[in-house]
Assembly symmetry: C2
Homo-oligomer: 333 residues x 2
């Protein structure tokens, strides 16, 4: 199963039998709105806090995926989820609702692919017949926790990104129809010494490049093997840095193949600075948009390289730089 240094090849081809993406009001106006299964006009989802709203988004994403598979929540054997909230409360409270055996993960915005990689590992190694992978974020809860409450209206530099309000889920199973999870590359922590929490894309780009390089090296493939290589949420600034770094590493990825979920999700006229971010960015774009493309036959092989900035507000205050990571998962129709 292990190939090279840090890549898992899933020989038994675990299937994503169902997936889902849900979003908030800003996502309802996004470029990928039609790929969401549910969109909420109310940022609060009728809840008393942004945190409770985020939990609802995650619960709904899980429900929809389970529903699409024609299953019940009792059928879910393992639930693997992560989010950006302190002590990943969104995931743990959703796990309480779901009732399935639960493994909480944290890889910041890379949690989407960390969850999916572990779900595929569980199914591939016959440690479970199915596993539900999920991740969520909420613009209000994340901005409040990591930066300032949005109500303050504080200004942001153009390198800043817009946290996606939403959740995505993918139900991986040993049997059934759907795209297959073929491989995963577990990322290493890369820290190039950047410390600006308003330029996450720039900080995370080297981690994405490290993981893409490892994936290609471990599998002995050419980057043109994939129709799309999509980083998680580097945004404009990080995407350009990643493209340059890849070139320096001698990895030429055509512009039409290398993209970024944070660049794709919103429309040009939405005021998102450098692009989208948050666990829900790669989660909704992958489990909504890309899964639809794979099912329609418009894409055959994709590599999602979810990026995560592993800082905390406290580590920033204590003048630490930002450790970053990227986990890559290959999905084939």
């Amino acid at each position: 199963m292990q190939k090279g240094h840090q890549t898992w090849v899933f020989d038994s081809l675990p299937v994503i039998i169902a997936s889902s993406a849900v979003g908030g009001p800003f996502e309802a106006k996004s470029a990928l709105a039609k790929d969401f299964d549910a969109l909420h006009g109310d940022l609060w989802l009728g809840q008393k806090s942004f945190e409770k709203a985020e939990k609802k988004l995650l619960e709904q994403a899980c429900e929809i995926a389970i529903d699409k598979a024609g299953m019940k929540k009792e059928d879910i054997q393992f639930f693997i989820s992560g989010d950006l909230m302190n002590q990943i409360i969104s995931s743990s409270f959703a796990a309480r609702t779901l009732g399935a055996p639960y493994l909480g993960v944290f890889g910041a915005c890379s949690s989407s692919m960390e969850s999916l990689a572990l779900a595929a590992l569980i199914v591939n190694s016959k440690a479970g017949k199915n596993a539900l992978a999920a991740a969520s974020s909420h613009n209000g809860s994340v901005e409040k926790q990591f930066r300032y409450p949005t109500e303050y209206g504080s200004q942001k530099p153009p390198t800043a990104q817009w946290t996606v309000t939403g959740a995505g889920a993918a139900l991986v199973a040993s049997e059934g129809d759907g795209p297959k999870v073929t491989a995963a590359t577990v990322g290493r922590v890369i820290d190039m010494g950047l410390s600006d929490p308003f330029n996450m894309g720039g900080a995370m780009a080297p981690a994405a490049v490290d993981t893409i390089t490892a994936h290609i090296r471990d599998l002995g493939i050419d980057s043109s093997y994939y129709d799309v290589i999509a980083t998680g949420d580097l945004g404009k600034v990080g995407h350009e840095i990643a493209a340059e770094l890849l070139q320096k590493h001698g990895i030429e990825i055509p512009k039409k193949i290398l993209t970024d979920c944070g660049l794709m999700i919103y429309k040009e006229d939405q005021p998102v600075f450098s692009g989208g971010s948050g666990c829900a960015c790669s989660a909704t774009v992958t489990f909504g948009h890309f899964m639809n493309k794979l099912k329609k036959g418009e894409l055959k092989r994709i590599l999602i390289v979810a990026t995560g900035a592993l800082l905390s507000p406290l580590s920033y205050q204590q003048k630490e730089t930002i450790p970053c990571i990227a986990h890559a998962v290959a999905i084939e129709a």
Copy 2:
């Protein structure tokens, strides 16, 4: 590999080829002091913050385990770690130092066994030749984040517990000498409606009981199969509740078999209220004390049931109750 609903049986018997436990000044006076590999007289470990001190503890635990195995940090294929800090910064910053492909986990104080279960899964399924599992906590960093800075000197009720300052690590490999990881039971989230953050043991006891019950049911064994069944950090209050609940479930575990890491670690005259807690509680007791007993032949089969309270200060402020979980790992000499 899957047996029953939520248990993994590791047929290839992954080996814990080395393990380590490090602690702080309070642990140096504890009942299990002799089982620690390193003990620090300075709660700050010469660092400028408790958080940086916690990271040092975790890094040292990893170093010692790697050293004992006669390996270098470059030989570590996967690092799996969790802690209680917001965004698990202790683990992620230690992962930066280590440089190995990294999977961050969060199960609060159950992170020790969540890490170990995943490390064993990786090795058993040939997704890696080795994986280093670790967890840490620091009394100063945890009290400050979850309750009050210790400098305030605020009083605590007798149900409160004392967060262990320390870290534990276990290096799991496909070959070598040492105790074997034979099985793991992934816990479900259990929430009995308790909301008092000063009575974690009481809140977590039902989760421990649920996982022990599942483990015994899934494997079709009697609880007397184990020489020791040690819950993570229920303390006096939670331990008594767990013992009662097990009886109600018709599971009779002799008093000499059922114990709790939070009860074992400190001396009777140390002012720890109901007992020890924190990720480092089950991590140091298991990877220090119990591993020594297994290697000396004084114990043959143990089941560690690490318990976790999945709340955050914010979820408490928002009047949520405490979702709890327990992950169990069986280790045999």
